[in-house]
């Protein structure tokens, strides 16, 4: 230690930018420039078809190929993605879950092709499928099968890829779905417990080695704008994980009990209005995970100022990277010991969180653990309730969001002068190109080898052997992502997760500032019911592979609370299914929610099918991340109204919806 209490500077955390789009080649270029800018690790964003196990040529992939991430169908794509990037020197984080076993297999196979020994590979597969059911929505198989895939990956890497972080238990996505700090702590911990119990139950890890597995478990955490509380939350995580690993798993080595975590800071609170303010939010949120040396993040990736507008451009991501670099390299933060040791305030609040979270952990364990509480809908329901409470508080002005419900006046912003160009747009041609490339791949590969690899995969899937082994072989043989996943769909089936909306008890209406408005809306529905003979009925649909459910859930609940009968079938429903449901249910109104950017492909498709089914008269509205130019096109196609995040006053939306039903009824 140097004089006057200053120390050697700590090594900064790993700095990443979550990125990938269009094609493997385009993403490869992006990664190289990012590394040149001083980024110290890679964070791969895959497109939704890859995440949910479809190739570009699958009908379910339409509109989604290359949009929100890179499409990786086979080892050729993976090679192109890391072309010129030596895998033995990289630390690669892959946000991949249901297909994690497969994508890691492609990565290992690519490394082997590069002549790299898998034992030196470093990086992370997210591989937390539990939170997919609760928030992120890219699950494929039923929970039991998912748990098996998770444990297969973990038990394989412990020996064969020992520096790999096989799973990132995610509380990040829980906060993005509305979780309170207590819920975030509790549900991440029960997930970790569920996973470790399952690993134990495989019997593949000798008792003495179990600490090694525990030591490989890492977390992916969120940090919201209440940054003092978030700081305490991180400290609570450290304490609780130490407790769980010691008491439940008997781990004696303190290093193996350490809470290791990466962070993406809160994006749910980033606003469409006055988006430049988001930079300040991001900085404050980053403080929560860096200030405490004793609970500091290992890796950080930040969203960009234009988060609520659409995908970030390279410049936007650069701004976020520079934010991290300034904190790490310009400030003196990394020169000090833990700043809060001895702080009674921090200690007390940390203890509060420890206790409330521990109580909720016990509640879930009492209900049979994480998997049971996913299947029964218990956790999802709690999240939906928290999110509803949050939105209600913002709508009522009880929770201040600058530029949204307070201090809303603004000079024209030079950043958003040309709004439609303030985001990254993906060339729609990407889709067709990827399909063509896939066809070429299938023609030129050795199809006998592929068949053999698939047969072996099927055999193992039905056994209790490790799926990694035949998956790596299949990767080398040229099997595609869709082939891998479809085969397993046949063996294990698919799963639709509980939506959490039916049972959610939500104090949205009867009390608070907006009670009167809500009463008026209810009266109008009542009057409409009397004049139409039936209560107004609405279908809330989520077409495509998009898993962003928050908006649809909250619209559905709110519509119920003003008196609509609401049909909501959850995420990932095809346009055909939406139209069939609209027809069978006899709805008066259809609301589509799309945040993944595929609205221009999917909304018109639903409209076309509605007309073909004789439902052309039923008003359709759309909501989500829809740039104004696209919104205009949708309105021209006949969409009655388009809503985006800036429309945070749900009461106003409801009023519009009632108008629409009213007008349609009057016209009949």
């Amino acid at each position: 230690m140097a004089q006057d209490g200053k120390r050697e500077r700590d090594r900064p955390w790993i700095m990443r930018t979550y990125s990938g789009h269009s094609t493997a080649a385009a993403s490869n270029e992006l990664y190289r420039t990012n590394l040149a800018k001083g980024q110290t690790g890679l964070s791969v964003a895959f497109d939704l078809p890859t995440q949910t196990g479809y190739d570009a040529d699958d009908p379910l992939a339409r509109g989604e190929v290359g949009k929100v991430g890179v499409p990786i169908s086979h080892i050729g794509d993976m090679r192109a993605l890391f072309d010129g990037i030596p895998l033995d020197q990289m630390n690669t984080s892959m946000t991949i879950n249901a297909t994690a076993v497969w994508l890691l297999s492609l990565y290992i196979a690519t490394a082997e092709d590069q002549g790299v020994d898998p034992r030196v590979l470093r990086g992370t597969t997210q591989n937390d499928i539990i939170k997919e059911y609760l928030s992120r929505g890219t699950h494929i198989f039923p929970p039991a099968a998912s748990m098996r895939l998770i444990t297969d990956l973990i038990t394989y890497t412990v020996d064969e890829v020992p520096k790999w972080n096989p799973i990132n238990i995610c509380s990040y996505h829980l906060q993005e779905a509305g979780a309170t700090p207590t819920q975030e702590l509790a549900y991440a911990l029960v997930t970790a417990i569920g996973v470790l119990d399952a690993v134990k139950a495989t019997g593949r890890i000798p008792e003495a080695e179990f600490g090694k597995v525990v030591g490989r478990i890492s977390f992916f955490v969120n940090a919201g704008i209440r940054f003092v509380e978030e700081l305490c939350k991180m400290r609570a995580f450290v304490e609780l994980w130490d407790r769980v690993t010691q008491e439940r798993y008997g781990v004696t080595d303190p290093k193996q009990r350490r809470f290791r975590y990466g962070v993406q800071v809160n994006s749910l609170g980033l606003t469409e209005q006055q988006p430049e303010n988001n930079v300040i939010r991001i900085v404050l949120e980053m403080l929560a995970v860096t200030l405490s040396k004793d609970a500091r993040a290992r890796a950080i990736q930040l969203p960009a100022w234009n988060e609520a507008l659409g995908l970030p451009r390279p410049w936007d991501q650069q701004w976020s990277l520079r934010t991290q670099q300034i904190l790490a390299y310009e400030t003196d933060l990394l020169e000090y010991d833990d700043l809060f040791t001895g702080s009674e305030v921090v200690k007390a609040h940390t203890q509060d969180l420890v206790e409330s979270a521990w109580a909720e952990v016990q509640e879930v364990l009492k209900r049979g653990g994480a998997v049971e509480a996913v299947e029964s809908g218990y956790i999802k329901q709690r999240l939906v309730e928290s999110n509803a409470a949050r939105l209600r508080a913002i709508e009522a002005g009880e929770q201040i969001v600058v530029g949204v419900n307070k201090f809303v006046e603004s000079e024209p912003s030079p950043l958003t002068e040309n709004l439609d160009e303030a985001i990254l747009t993906v060339d729609p041609k990407v889709d067709a190109d990827q399909r063509a490339a896939l066809a070429r791949w299938k023609e030129t590969r050795d199809n006998d080898a592929v068949d053999k690899a698939l047969a072996e995969l099927q055999r193992v899937a039905k056994s209790d052997e490790n799926m990694m082994v035949p998956s790596i072989a299949a990767a080398h043989a040229g099997v595609t992502t869709g082939e891998w996943a479809n085969l397993l769909r046949e063996v294990w089936g698919e799963y639709r997760a509980p939506t959490g909306v039916s049972g959610a008890s939500v104090k949205t209406a009867a009390t608070g500032a907006n009670a009167e408005t809500v009463a008026r809306l209810r009266d109008r529905i009542h009057a409409l019911e009397a004049s139409m003979g039936r209560r107004p009925k609405m279908l809330v649909g989520k077409p495509g592979l998009d898993g962003h459910s928050n908006g649809a859930e909250q619209i559905a609940i709110k519509a119920r609370d003003v008196g609509f009968d609401v049909v909501y079938e959850g995420i990932r429903v095809s346009p055909e299914q939406i139209v069939a449901s609209a027809l069978e249910e006899g709805v008066h109104l259809i609301g589509l929610s799309i945040l993944s950017g595929s609205h221009l492909a999917l909304v018109p498709e639903v409209m076309k099918r509605l007309r073909a089914a004789g439902l052309g008269d039923v008003p359709v509205v759309a909501g989500g991340i829809i740039p104004e130019a696209d919104a205009e096109r949708l309105r021209q196609e006949g969409v009655a109204a388009v809503y985006t995040p800036k429309d945070f006053e749900l009461d106003n939306i409801m009023s519009d919806l009632i108008d629409l039903v009213d007008r349609q009824h009057a016209a009949e």
């Binding site: 029964s376 639709r496 039936r534 209560r535 519509a559 055909e576 027809l583 069978e584 006899g586």
Partner: protein, 335 residues
């Protein structure tokens, strides 16, 4: 729909045209007084539909979350594989505060959207009429005219377990392993004995076997104390273990459904009529109590009247509303 189109639409319903079925279901939900005549005409036109008499109305009831919707989905798939067409009415509760509802059963059913032989309609209980939805009975009649099997999923709480008896030819009570309450209710005779008992979530053999054994015991005790239900003594309630998520036990369930349908064959129409009469009275009593009954001349008279008027095309709902009006008028006179 004007009156003249109704006959045409009824034809379309009987040939399972989805748009027509949907319109007909919308119509029977319509509560406006001016719509009652058309509802009556529609139901009358559907009364002798060939599918109706040969069809099967299956009621699925049981506590929330036992897997009724998931089971409905796999059961429907099993029936479709046997080339039988299926209509589903899924009932969910309405919010007491707003009157609105979140109709969540559909989310748990997966089906082929291009299949013309499967139709699912969600209904809200809409408060005042208790467990089943306002239009449940009429909706079953519409779907029964279009499809071979009609499955009614109840909310599983409150009155629905009782109401379902009036609507279904076969009542299936779904429970899950370890549901002690149900056993107690059966033993104590609080709960009517269903036609078929399903132990769902029997994913693990051992648990399932134990649950089935427990239930057998409870049923024996229930019979011994002469608990209600047993509409005819010759039928012995079978117990079927299923796993809706794995799809196991479904063949056996279908076999038992078929067996029960056969068992009630000769008494089918009488059973349905009895159900409707009973439902009419129940609805009325729930609204106006015994005082309502005595004001309109007593139970026996009302029953006879219900039998007559239901034959004449009234539905339990329209008739109940008619009776309500008479009761209110009578009250006015005595006041």
């Amino acid at each position: 729909m004007p009156l003249s189109d109704i006959a045409e639409d009824a034809q379309q319903v009987m040939s399972a045209n989805k748009a027509a079925v949907s319109r007909a279901l919308n119509l029977v939900e319509d509560r406006r007084a001016e719509s009652h005549a058309r509802v009556a005409e529609l139901l009358a036109a559907l009364k002798d539909a060939p599918k109706a008499a040969g069809g099967h109305r299956v009621g699925l009831t049981g506590p929330p979350g036992v897997g009724k919707s998931t089971l409905t989905s796999v059961l429907a798939r099993g029936l479709r594989l046997r080339d039988r067409t299926v209509g589903v009415v899924a009932v969910d509760p309405s919010s007491m505060r707003s009157g609105g509802s979140l109709l969540g059963d559909r989310a748990r059913m997966s089906f082929d959207p291009t299949d013309n032989g499967l139709f699912v309609r969600s209904l809200a209980t809409a408060g005042e009429v208790g467990g089943l939805a306002y239009a449940a009975n009429s909706s079953v009649r519409v779907l029964g005219a279009a499809y071979d099997t009609v499955i009614i999923e109840t909310t599983g709480v409150g009155q629905s377990e009782i109401d379902i008896v009036h609507v279904a030819d076969t009542v299936v009570l779904v429970i899950q392993p370890g549901s002690g309450d149900v056993l107690q209710f059966l033993k104590a005779g609080i709960m009517e004995i269903p036609d078929i008992l399903v132990v769902n979530k029997a994913d693990q053999d051992e648990l399932a076997r134990r649950a089935v054994a427990d239930l057998r015991g409870a049923l024996r005790t229930a019979h011994a104390v002469g608990a209600g239900g047993a509409q005819d003594g010759a039928w012995e309630t079978p117990i079927v273990a299923t796993s809706a998520t794995k799809g196991s036990g479904i063949d056996e369930l279908i076999a038992q459904l078929d067996a029960h349908r056969k068992h009630v064959e000769t008494a089918l129409l009488a059973r349905r009529r009895r159900g409707e009469v009973q439902w009419t009275l129940d609805l009325f009593i729930r609204k106006h109590g015994e005082h309502g009954v005595s004001t309109l001349g007593g139970r026996r008279l009302l029953k006879a009247r219900a039998e007559r008027e239901l034959d004449g095309g009234e539905t339990p709902l329209s008739l109940c509303e008619q009776l309500s009006r008479e009761y209110v008028a009578a009250l006015g006179q005595t006041a």
